[in-house]
Subunit: 196 residues, 4 copies
DNA sequence: TATGAATGAGGATTCATTCAT
DNA sequence: CATGAATGAATCCTCATTCAT
């Protein structure tokens, strides 16, 4: 399955972080999980920190690709927004360990100052989309941070509930309700509901 | 300020976790911050873990008291809900270190299995409130988890943005917009907007 | 004998370096030699390197004091020079482990760039003394480095032979011959031999 | 330049030890410097230690050849002695990396007990020469070790100063002064200075 | 109660050496 | 012969906890 040792190490890290938590990750466990000697990890990575950071970057990269899949800016804003939401949920529902890792990484001691805000690569284009929507009066005239949170936080909250086995987010009807609710909470109210 | 040593230790813990992060908390720093010897902490607490857990419980207790302050179940649901939201925001905007601590605690190695979900004491009554509202058709007929997240997650998201200095959540107008939006996203649509 | 743990650690380091060599010094051995736990050394020193450096500085400080004991610049140069030589030899013959440590330290990886030349604190005033002697034509008109080496290197060489048990440098007659020879090799030849 | 891999490895070792120090020599660096794989070194040598020891022996062998070049025991002692000194200096001034290696080797963890005294191959014949000179009253009636050091140590000291860029020992006048001084410090004083 | 020196298990990292290709 | 990925013992250092004073 693994084409090379470097990927094997990253995959073992992901498994271990999901099973025992980032805090409990240590090189001995990692080596055992990967079926390697401790020293082997240091052939491919400079340090434990590097492993975690590379894994994070890999996950963020893949997440971004997934979220912006089939992105077409000329489509109606609602369609675009909901497509992105769906992409996000679909991706993390299929890869719950990615979601969990990102969450844990956000509170790991590695960052602290650099990227206090996770999801950066996703949040940034979203912010631009929202500002464009506000200019066209398609969205409520509220501060961008607020709109961003109204559209985004419930989805993150539902994903957390999903990885904690509190809800079945594979349910497409539930997803649709979620997306629709998120969209409605940011969409301008005088828009013709028939057109959306 | 402190009448007893136990509180002094808990307060010093809170300060340090906010300044340097839960990960970097150690007993030497804690003793120094409190102006005590390391051994003294062990007179009042069994372990470092106990300190953190007791602090967490203290914070949750205070948060709950604050959120349910002036709680009157006989008032209209919207009033009650928004009052709780306001209480929550007011409390954590005044005590950002409490919010930050709870966030960090959620990913600390202490839990992992026990209390995966933070905010427990607050979430539980909220869930009951929501279910009551659904029964009375005051709220949308959606799964409770979804309603909970729609009402709750944007507020948490905004509080995170606040402690990261990305938004001024002391602004009352902004708070009102936030609460109104959260309420609207869960409120039944056929309710007379004049009555709320 | 040891008034405090810090000195105990430094003394144990010295013993171990002399017995097994600086290269083979490790924290486990050091702790065992001192009768302490490994962690204890880190209460008093930041790192293994710090221990070695502090010991070096302590030794150099003591050596300098010993070499310049009873130093009186108004005495004839020969007397001064030979007194210093005697102080040096007396000190290191009584403290052969100090000599050995300094020798090893000079090739340890800790330096490399900083103080390639050991004995700095001793060499510097010596250089000045030599230059003064040259100005007064008491010494041969040769480059200072050469005079320095002629006066100094045989003594170092004899000390090395002594710590390798190749010669008994406690023998005062031998010391006198050494000092006289070193002095003669740098002293101006037209000086009245009766006056020295 | 290299006809065989074994020499290539020894030469690369020498370069690295001079550039970074014996302490920092490791097989990975050595392989890279030689343009070989790590494993290749183990085809030609049993261990890292073997490489260092073989290099040392090679250097000592070459040094001896150089020092005893044109050695003719029937010539006057002074001529012989100064010729050897000159050979020594000429050789190490042309091959400062050899000198540096020998110095570092003397404090490496490889020896410790075996060959505490470096320069063995050179020192031994020198000792015999000195004893012969003493018997013929050409040299001072002093212990051999002392004579050896008087004649030898300043030269070593000057070579050290040379590799530390503190003196230009390629200067032939300086060399002559050095040799003359070393000779004078061991030569019997009643020898007719005109004959040497 | 209060102290803080001492403990030592545990964790990250290095590197000489091996061996399958 | 040549390769270089893999190994794992050895090393430095940290830190929660204890205990004699």
């Amino acid at each position: 399955m693994n084409t090379n040792t470097k990927d094997l190490i990253l995959e073992s890290t992901l498994k271990l972080v999901n099973r025992e938590g980032l805090y409990h990750l240590n090189m001995k466990k990692l080596a055992k999980e990967a079926g390697l000697a401790i020293g082997t990890a240091y052939i491919y990575f400079d340090s434990k920190e590097t492993i975690i950071n590379e894994l994070y970057q890999k996950i963020v990269r893949e997440s971004e690709v997934a979220v912006f899949k089939n992105f077409q800016s000329e489509r109606p804003l609602k369609e675009t927004a909901i497509a992105m939401m769906r992409n996000l949920v679909t991706f993390f529902v299929s890869n719950p360990d990615y979601f969990n890792f990102i969450e844990q990484y956000g509170f790991s001691p590695i960052l602290l100052k650099e990227s206090k805000e996770k999801w950066l690569g996703i949040i940034d284009p979203l912010t631009k989309l929202i500002e464009k929507g506000k200019n066209k009066s398609l969205l409520k005239n509220l501060p961008t941070v607020l709109l961003l949170n109204l559209a985004h936080s419930p989805i993150i909250g539902m994903l957390k509930a999903f990885i904690n086995n509190q809800v079945d987010l594979t349910d497409e009807w539930l997803q649709d309700q979620l997306f629709e609710a998120c969209w409605k909470s940011i969409a301008s109210e005088n828009i013709d509901p028939k057109k959306g």
